[in-house]
């Protein structure tokens, strides 16, 4: 019944839209199409890109390739979901990549197999996986809390705060990988149970195994969707993002909300670190470098605006996919590496311009 109702509703909506459209004069009709074209330019470009890549290289749309795109995107989803909250608050988070690096190295060091020759903590048994997840979430959360505390308490711009914490975290990471005579060597030799937990597969699509971390990304998305849409904290976040003073006047605890958003983001980086650790299999000081750039780009492409107070989890996920599809397509087309930088830059620039344009028109 509900389904029918929704269907009826949709049909009448479309009908109404069509009637409205018919009532427009010629100039307005032209404008209508122009607007529709520009507002959806990104999706149109994407479809063109996909079709073009397919015509050039038919393997682009095989099951294998699609599973590959999905799994590469899934690896980036937690960090993007985390950073999106900071962007909703008109902020940003430059420390994300380094936190991923630190938590990845922590996970790896705690989950090296007991027989591995150059184990970092030789006497440590392989810890239970849930405990390690908890540890990295707490470590990420603490750093996120520090970010949030300084942003909220001292009214510092997140750019400055996270610029500072990014350096601090990098320093900690460099110290961490030097301990116990590890001397900066990559942390690998991960326990089999850990690798299976993350990169193993329980479901296959037409014989192509889907790695488990895709499901973890789905869980993260579900949790984040719930937090953003169904909790008071989520509503408060958007209120603070669009106008902190108004939010304050209407009884929202701005400080608490800001700290919570950053802490939550930190927890997400912890999860990303945990997944990356097993996915890449080799963890060193460079791990996580520049991860925040792709994540921020994905959020902005997905419509989480730096203007603040706007954005949807759906958009973030879409943004991650869009960016990833383009990256993979560039590979399938064997485009020259130098040109790839230019194309990536242009995509981010155009996406931001379209996003801001929407906002300016609304204003």
């Amino acid at each position: 019944m509900i389904c029918m109702g929704v269907k009826m509703n949709m049909v009448s909506n479309v009908k109404q839209g069509f009637v409205n459209y018919k009532e427009l004069d010629k100039k307005d009709k032209f404008n209508f199409w122009k607007e529709a074209l520009i507002n959806n330019a990104l999706y149109i470009l994407l479809i063109i890109a996909v079709i073009y890549t397919y015509t050039q290289n038919q393997r682009f749309l095989t099951v294998n390739s699609i599973v590959n795109i999905v799994s590469l995107s899934a690896a980036n989803i937690p960090i993007a979901c985390g950073i999106a909250g900071c962007i909703v608050l008109t902020g940003t988070d430059l420390s994300a990549g380094r936190i991923v690096g630190l938590t990845a190295c922590i996970s790896a060091s705690l989950l090296q197999s007991a027989t591995y020759a150059t184990k970092m903590f030789p006497n440590l048994p392989v810890l239970p996986i849930p405990l390690v997840i908890l540890i990295v979430i707490i470590v990420g959360g603490i750093i996120g809390w520090v970010n949030g505390f300084f942003v909220a308490k001292f009214q510092l711009h997140p750019f400055i705060v996270t610029l500072a914490t990014q350096l601090i975290v990098y320093g900690l990471l460099l110290m961490y990988i030097m301990i116990n005579g590890n001397n900066g060597q990559p942390l690998s030799g991960l326990d089999k149970s850990f690798k299976t937990f993350v990169t193993g597969s329980v479901v296959s699509l037409f014989g192509v195994p889907i790695p488990n971390y895709v499901w973890y990304a789905c869980i993260v998305v579900a949790i984040m969707w719930f937090i953003w849409n169904k909790t008071t904290f989520g509503k408060n976040m958007f209120a603070v993002g669009s106008n902190p003073e108004a939010a304050n006047v209407s009884g929202v605890n701005v400080m608490k909300t800001t700290i919570m958003v950053h802490t939550l983001a930190g927890c997400m980086y912890g999860i990303t670190g945990f997944i990356e650790s097993a996915r890449i299999g080799s963890n060193q000081a460079n791990t996580g470098l520049n991860y925040e750039c792709d994540a921020i780009a994905a959020c902005v492409i997905g419509g989480v605006s730096f203007v603040g107070g706007t954005g949807k989890i759906r958009g973030v996920v879409l943004g991650v996919f869009l960016l990833r599809i383009i990256f993979v397509a560039l590979n399938f087309l064997s485009i020259n590496q130098n040109t790839q930088y230019i194309i990536k830059g242009l995509i981010i620039l155009i996406a931001c311009a379209i996003d801001m344009r929407k906002y300016l028109v609304r204003k």
């Binding site: 290289n57 393997r59 682009f60 095989t62 294998n64 390739s65 599973v67 590959n68 799994s71 590469l72 591995y116 020759a117 150059t118 603490i142 809390w145 520090v146 505390f149 900690l172 460099l174 110290m175 961490y176 990988i177 030097m178 301990i179 116990n180 005579g181 001397n183 900066g184 060597q185 990559p186 942390l187 690998s188 030799g189 690798k195 990169t199 195994p209 790695p211 990356e276 996915r279 890449i280 299999g281 080799s282 963890n283 060193q284 000081a285 460079n286 791990t287 470098l289 520049n290 993979v328 590979n331 399938f332 087309l333 064997s334 020259n336 590496q337 130098n338 790839q340 930088y341």
Partner: protein, 399 residues
């Protein structure tokens, strides 16, 4: 208010434990730190320097030396092992030294060098950021010669092959300790060639009589990466040709670069892993065009590629899965372990300890007031430039 205070305290405690946790578990670093501290203090106060002299005994004449060591980045695995070895050597020499992290930025490094000179450094040991650039290295040599202090470059090339001697020959108190950049590529190529000749049929999975390979490059515009990318394949092909076998073929015929490069220029496992995962989604055994050989500029990238192969059920080292030969450079501990486990095939060893020993020897010369290159006849010195020492590479395919 109380709650917030509690939370702050809690966070602080955790942060402090994190710090102490790090330092207390270090084996040798605390000792390093303490010596460094006392010796740095000694440079400020002469009285204290004499104390150090007393304890240092016969090495007393070196305690006046104030050595500044510049590393291109702390995050590089190989450089980290050189740093550990060199710190130990300098500690045992009893000289005052200070390590700097240039964080992959030439500007930062130049500024650090200026600072070090102004704080009274008597010897510079430089792992230059911009490798192979005469302009960058000449600027640093000029700083040293203006201050009249010796300078030792190490690891990363200071000049290209064409301009050999222009920088190193311009100042008599200058030396270079490094590796012959093309050598690693040549050795890797030869190793690959010989391996393929021996195992041609088992490597050629689709039986088309050709080996298709993937190449992962660490960084664009880096001399070492360029040579390894070039000779890793060329020399292998030369060996194959000599044995009347067809040359290696890049797996993706439409890619005219014939390599995939880490776009962040960090030689990272992540980049190799992402490329390899994507490659395997279109080049696999079902399509009959599987990548049959993987060549990487360093071991980190090799690890990333192996991790991607593992997901698809290759290189598991369990005796039953198929193994795609993967080659790297550096012989890191992790790579040695992978080779021992049968997941990786071979790598080229860069001798971190040997390099540190040689640098320490030159440091002793310079600090003792002798010519920098005194008594270095036993080392492998470049034929063209008299103050350029090469630390040889070695192939590594298991103990």
């Amino acid at each position: 208010m109380k709650k917030r205070f509690l939370a702050t305290m809690l966070c602080l405690t955790m942060a402090v434990t994190l710090f102490t946790g790090c330092s207390s578990s270090k084996n040798n670093t605390p000792k390093n730190n303490s010596t460094k501290e006392t010796s740095t203090d000694s440079s400020k106060a002469d009285n204290e320097a004499e104390n150090v002299v007393d304890t240092a005994g016969d090495k007393a004449d070196l305690s006046d030396a104030n050595v500044a060591v510049f590393y291109y980045t702390y995050s590089d695995t190989y450089i980290a092992s050189v740093r550990t070895a060199l710190d130990k050597q300098l500690d045992s020499l009893g000289v005052t030294y200070q390590d700097y992290d240039s964080n992959s930025n030439q500007t930062t490094q130049n500024e650090q060098i200026d600072t070090a000179i102004s704080t009274g450094a008597t010897l510079l040991i430089v792992n230059i950021v911009t490798s192979g650039s005469v302009d960058a290295s000449q600027a640093i040599v000029d700083k040293a010669s203006a201050a009249g202090i010796p300078i030792i470059f190490f690891n990363r090339a200071v000049e290209g092959d064409a301009e050999e001697g222009t920088v190193l020959g311009s100042y008599d108190k200058c030396a270079f300790v490094g590796t012959d950049a093309p050598e690693a590529g040549h050795m890797q190529g030869t190793m690959i060639g010989e391996y393929v000749v021996k195992n041609f049929d088992s490597i050629d999975l689709n039986g088309d009589g050709k080996i298709s390979y993937a190449m992962f490059m660490g960084q664009l515009g880096n001399v070492e990466a360029i040579y390894r990318t070039q000779y890793g394949v060329e020399d292998a092909n030369a060996v194959l040709k000599a044995n009347n076998l067809p040359e290696l073929e890049y797996f993706d015929s439409s890619n005219s670069d014939r390599y995939q490069v880490d776009q962040d220029g960090t030689w990272s496992a992540t980049a190799a892993n992402n490329y390899m995962t994507t490659n395997l989604s279109q080049f696999n055994e079902e399509n009959g065009n599987m990548i049959e050989l993987v060549i990487c500029n360093n071991d980190g990238m090799a690890e990333g590629a192996i991790s991607a192969l593992n997901v698809k059920g290759y290189n598991l080292g369990d005796g039953t899965s198929k193994t795609i030969p993967v080659f790297g450079v550096d012989a890191t501990d992790a790579a040695k372990q992978l080779i021992a486990d049968g997941k990786m095939t071979g790598t080229i060893k860069q001798d971190a300890e040997g390099m540190a020993d040689c640098i320490a020897f030159l440091t002793q010369n310079a600090a003792g007031g002798k010519n920098v290159m005194d008594g270095t006849d036993s080392y492998n010195i470049s034929a063209n430039v008299s103050n350029k020492i090469y630390i040889p590479y070695a192939t590594y395919t298991g103990e």
